[in-house]
């Protein structure tokens, strides 16, 4: 039985698609929805398990950055690097760029890119909320990187190495680290909420 709304729908012509060419192109491949977080988590867990079984170690990220920095400092000022225990911890075993984490992080670039391409999520953009400018956002991004570098080195790892790996292996220090990360983040979140909302 046709109702009034049905009649209205049939009679009104569909609105003409007045869309510019450029918008059509960028909308041509809509970004795919994110994977179910639990399934993504299982996938991530299996990658971590593979690292355990094949290498006898877990994942990591921050170590690759410090290896690169140590390599650069050694290239620019080797004498200075020699006297510094932090740089030496990377340089004492040969070329730091031939480290496991460096290659792993390079793989992450590839893997992230592939997944992004498959999902149509690769585009040059600055992620931010509506109430903050790009410059401020990038400034805060850099600052965040500084803090995380200090935190990751003090803790001997970041969320990948300590929280994920140490979490799965029930490492006591890693669990303490994980709690501190959430505490720090939640504690400061309110103060930078303008970045995101």
């Amino acid at each position: 039985m046709t109702t009034a709304t049905d009649v209205a729908r049939i009679e009104a012509p569909p609105a003409p698609r007045v869309v510019s060419k450029t918008r059509e192109r960028s909308q041509a491949k809509p970004a795919a929805a994110f994977a179910n977080p639990y399934l993504a988590g299982i996938g991530l867990g299996l990658v971590l398990l593979a690292a355990f079984v094949v290498m006898g170690r877990g994942l990591g990220a921050s170590g690759a950055f410090s290896a690169f920095v140590a390599w650069t400092v050694d290239g620019v000022a080797p004498a200075h690097a020699e006297g510094n225990g932090f740089y030496q911890s990377y340089l004492a075993y040969g070329n730091p760029l031939k480290g496991w984490l460096v290659f792993e992080v390079l793989g992450m670039v590839v893997g992230g890119l592939v997944s992004g391409l498959l999902a149509g999520r690769v585009r040059p953009v600055v992620e931010k909320g509506p109430r903050i400018g790009t410059g401020s956002r990038l400034g805060l991004a850099f600052l965040g990187g500084l803090f995380m570098a200090a935190g990751a080195k003090l803790a001997r790892g970041c969320t990948s190495g300590q929280a994920l790996t140490g979490g799965a292996l029930l490492n006591a220090g890693s669990w303490a680290f994980m709690l501190a990360v959430f505490a720090g983040a939640y504690g400061v979140a309110w103060f930078v909420r303008r970045q995101w909302r």
Partner: protein, 209 residues
């Protein structure tokens, strides 16, 4: 019963996780660390205790084989004075954590047969089933390889061979005369230890993040 099987994917995953977690209450993942020594196996292994004779080791080294590691269990000073070419200094105190691969052949030698055997047992218990004893220890190396005293009337080619082997390692063979025994012999000069271990086996890169 089917009421309790969750319908959603999330529910099914959650149930699987809880079931596996519950089952874990009854297990122990550390099969390797706490060593359960099966006494029957151990008794069998002791009889079979993998041994390598000194001449066999000499042959290995002369033919240039590198698929083994040689650990000198004596003190660092003794090692510096003389060690079998290619040996690494591995005092027994460091043996518990010494970096080794599981399937490597590891030749152990020291001065004291009992101590070497204990070290062998330690490595076997840690799961390094490639550990072997140098039969007779350093003493046998001295007597059979470095300074062999061949009995009178030995076949000429045996004598020649023994001489060649001994000279390869800086020693000296002779025919007749008493066996070397414990007499202090002047040991061949050994290369500075720096030439052997540190570059041959770089310290393990740390595995942290």
């Amino acid at each position: 019963m089917s009421r309790f099987i969750p319908k959603t994917l999330k529910g099914k995953l959650a149930l699987t996780a809880v079931a596996l977690g519950f089952l874990a209450l009854f297990g122990n993942p550390y099969r390797g660390e706490t060593v359960t020594v099966a006494t029957q196996d151990l008794a069998w292994n002791l009889q079979q205790a993998d041994r390598l004779s000194a001449p066999e080791l000499a042959d290995r080294l002369i033919s240039g084989r590198t698929d083994h590691r040689i650990l000198d269990l004596r003190s660092a000073e003794a090692y510096a004075e003389y060690h079998v070419p290619g040996a690494e200094s591995a005092p027994v105190s460091e043996l518990a954590d010494y970096p080794l691969y599981r399937n490597e052949t590891v030749v152990l030698y020291g001065d004291d047969a009992v101590g070497t055997a204990q070290a062998w047992l330690l490595l076997q218990a840690r799961g390094f089933h490639g550990a072997v004893l140098l039969d007779g220890g350093l003493g046998a190396w001295k007597q059979q390889v470095l300074f062999p005293a061949l009995p009178e009337g030995s076949a000429p080619n045996a004598v020649a061979r023994a001489k060649a082997v001994a000279e390869h390692f800086g020693g000296q063979a002779r025919v007749g005369g008493a066996a070397v025994g414990d007499a202090p012999m002047e040991m061949p000069k050994v290369e500075a230890p720096a030439a052997v271990a540190p570059t041959a086996r770089k310290p393990k890169r740390k595995e942290g993040c």
